[in-house]
């Protein structure tokens, strides 16, 4: 456990010198840098196309001769993108808060309490990891249809309000919290919920933020279920809205690229600000997952 934290934390430092200088290091660095540029090229071309006029849209140059924000004003003018953005943000935020809360609660209960049926509950929850979402979407759809959840925020959110992956991750991390701390709090007269909230949770904040990043990203980019459960454009999430918008535009690629850029730019900004936390969080969640 501790070595996973250590190795995901050590990711943040550049490697230290290991022995004699490698004669191939210049070649290695050049190839790596070229690879990195190739990796971001699609994003660069998308951004570049979004500020081009149609007449130079299909030129290979990245920096337009005549940059324009007209595409953005056009795409944003009918307000649909703002709505979809707000929907996605709201849904991803609420789902993340709920999933992190419940996953930490269940992970803690399964880790720190001794009671009959504990192993059974843990294995039952863990076994749901094997069930693919695609198998559940049809029953979820039928369920939402009969309960009137179709085409509602709750309908989009309910499948994700708890996750087995997060429960497993949190259980692993609560193993690192010493029982003595909890016992001391118990003697101080805190009840079990207070012990969890005030004592145990603050000790696993890196894990909580790692899980939050993972769940937020998953919900932000989720496509299949929102596509199935929503009917009216007002309730579309950003990916579903973008698909509809792009199909409408057919050949106006500069507008499609502007829509794609609008869906991508917020994540890019968040990444640039929280880069270290995001990479460390993804490494931590991935290694335990």
């Amino acid at each position: 456990m501790s070595d996973i934290r250590a190795s995901s934390a050590s990711l943040m430092q550049a490697p230290t010198a290991k022995g004699p200088r490698d004669p191939w290091s210049v070649l290695r660095w050049t190839l790596l840098a070229m690879g990195a540029i190739v990796m971001v090229m699609p994003i660069i071309y998308m951004l570049s196309a979004s500020i081009k006029y149609p007449y130079e849209m299909y030129d290979l140059n990245i920096i337009p001769k005549e940059p324009t924000f007209e595409n953005y004003t056009y795409v944003l003018s009918d307000g649909r993108f703002m709505r979809w953005f707000a929907n996605s943000f709201l849904i991803a935020t609420i789902t993340t808060i709920s999933a992190v809360f419940f996953d930490a609660l269940v992970g803690y209960a399964l880790c720190k309490f001794r009671f009959r049926g504990r192993t059974f509950v843990f294995i039952a929850i863990l076994s749901t990891l094997m069930i693919p979402t695609e198998m559940l979407v049809i029953p979820w759809y039928l369920m939402s249809k009969s309960l009137g959840w179709l085409d509602s925020y709750w309908g989009i959110m309910f499948p994700g309000i708890m996750t087995a992956f997060g429960t497993f991750l949190m259980k692993q991390f609560f193993e690192t919290v010493p029982d003595d701390f909890l016992e001391a709090a118990r003697i101080d007269g805190l009840n079990e919920f207070q012990i969890w909230w005030f004592v145990a949770l603050p000790l696993v904040t890196p894990a909580l933020s790692a899980l939050a990043i993972f769940i937020f990203l998953g919900n932000w980019t989720a496509f299949l279920w929102p596509l199935i459960v929503t009917n009216s454009q007002e309730l579309y999430t950003l990916p579903v809205g973008l698909t509809t918008f792009s199909v409408e535009q057919t050949v106006e690629w500069e507008l499609i690229m502007t829509g794609a850029a609008l869906a991508t730019i917020p994540t890019l900004i968040v990444f640039l600000v929280f880069q270290r936390y995001i990479i460390r969080g993804v490494a931590m969640a991935g290694l335990k997952g």
Binding site: A6, S7, L11, P15, D22, S25, R28, W29, L31, L32, A33, G35, M39, V40, P42, Y45, A49, Y58, L60, F102, L105, V106, A109, F113, F115, V121, A124, M130, I131, P132, M135, L136, I138, Y141, L142, F158, P159, E192, L217, T221, F223, L224, I228, P239, L242, T243, S246, M257, G259, A260, A263, T264, T267, L268, F271, Q275, A283, G286, L287, G289
Partner: protein
């Protein structure tokens, strides 16, 4: 309240434990287990959402077995897996291995490789779809034209369309795999390398005798994780072929897209449920096989 006070600490904990678990257990039963059972039951029934649900026994599975589209889709799904997993793992390992030894602009390079992982698959599917268009629109063909090379038909060709869709899928997942590989590489104690260097072992031997064996848990995780991802591919295919989903001539259609169309275009719910059961079986068998094969190797 008095009865609660009279309980021992252990008994109180049991009460708290079930209190913590009550709502989650309800969730897992209603939103995970009941739908799973429902999907399996539905796969033995025939239902178009309007009429009654009728028991048809194994008819849906027989229909699937005799459906030529299913076998095409089955093959496509495995082509995504068989090409996608090895290519993305080899690429990400090579990049992670070398990136781990690079100091100059280390953080920047790593961020650039990681960036595509954070993009929305739908947005990027449309970006790549634009790249793949014929002249005078598509970037790739415009580039080929400017070099005087003949055009390539990407998404309109039954042979090229699937690899063309696979490339963005590999591209988007690479950053995650690189980060996981790098974390795995960092977890290997440097003392192993130091000892090897003192013994004068070549870097190839270090790679094959120290790095790769010690990286095995990471490799197993990434093989299983990325295989499941490729077997469930949907977003990219759906968005890059909206005018004819899974086309041309079903040459790019994966199982999840077939499920989506059967359920939500044809409303053949029983048949679609049978397809989801098959998908579940495929995922289970592939993951267990991979775990078995990779763990058994010395």
């Amino acid at each position: 309240m008095n009865t609660y006070r009279n309980l021992s600490i252990r008994q109180k904990q049991v009460v708290w434990a079930w209190g913590f678990l009550a709502l989650p257990i309800l969730f897992y039963v209603v939103i995970r287990f009941y739908p799973t059972a429902n999907a399996i039951v539905l796969s033995f029934q025939s239902w178009n959402l309007l009429g009654p649900r009728e028991w048809v026994g194994l008819e849906n599975y027989e229909k699937l077995w005799n459906d030529p589209v299913f076998w095409k889709v089955f093959k496509n799904t495995f082509v995504y897996l068989i090409l996608g997993t090895p290519i993305s793992l080899v690429l990400s390992f090579v990049i992670a291995y070398h990136l781990d030894k690079t100091r100059l602009l280390h953080g920047t390079l790593r961020a650039l490789y990681f960036l595509p992982f954070l993009t929305s698959t739908v947005a990027m599917a449309w970006v790549w779809r634009w790249f793949y268009q014929p002249v005078p629109i598509g970037l790739f063909n415009n580039f080929l034209a400017s070099m005087g090379i003949s055009q390539i038909s990407f998404l309109n060709s039954t042979t090229n369309a699937l690899p063309s869709i696979l490339i963005p899928a590999i591209w988007a997942g690479l950053g995650f795999q690189i980060i996981i590989f790098m974390a795995g590489l960092r977890a290997i104690p440097t003392s192993y390398y130091e000892a090897a260097r003192i013994d004068g072992v070549s870097s190839w031997t270090i790679l094959s005798e120290i790095t790769l064996p010690l990286l095995k848990p990471t490799i197993v995780f990434l093989v299983v994780f990325s295989s499941i991802g490729f077997l469930r591919i949907f977003d990219q295919v759906f968005n890059m072929t909206t005018n004819n989903p899974g086309g041309p001539l079903d040459s790019t259609k994966p199982l999840v897209l077939m499920i989506y169309q059967t359920a939500f275009s044809s409303f053949d719910m029983g048949y679609a449920a049978a397809q989801t059961v098959v998908l579940f079986a495929i995922l289970l068998v592939v993951s267990l096989l991979q775990l078995r094969i990779l763990r058994d190797k010395p």
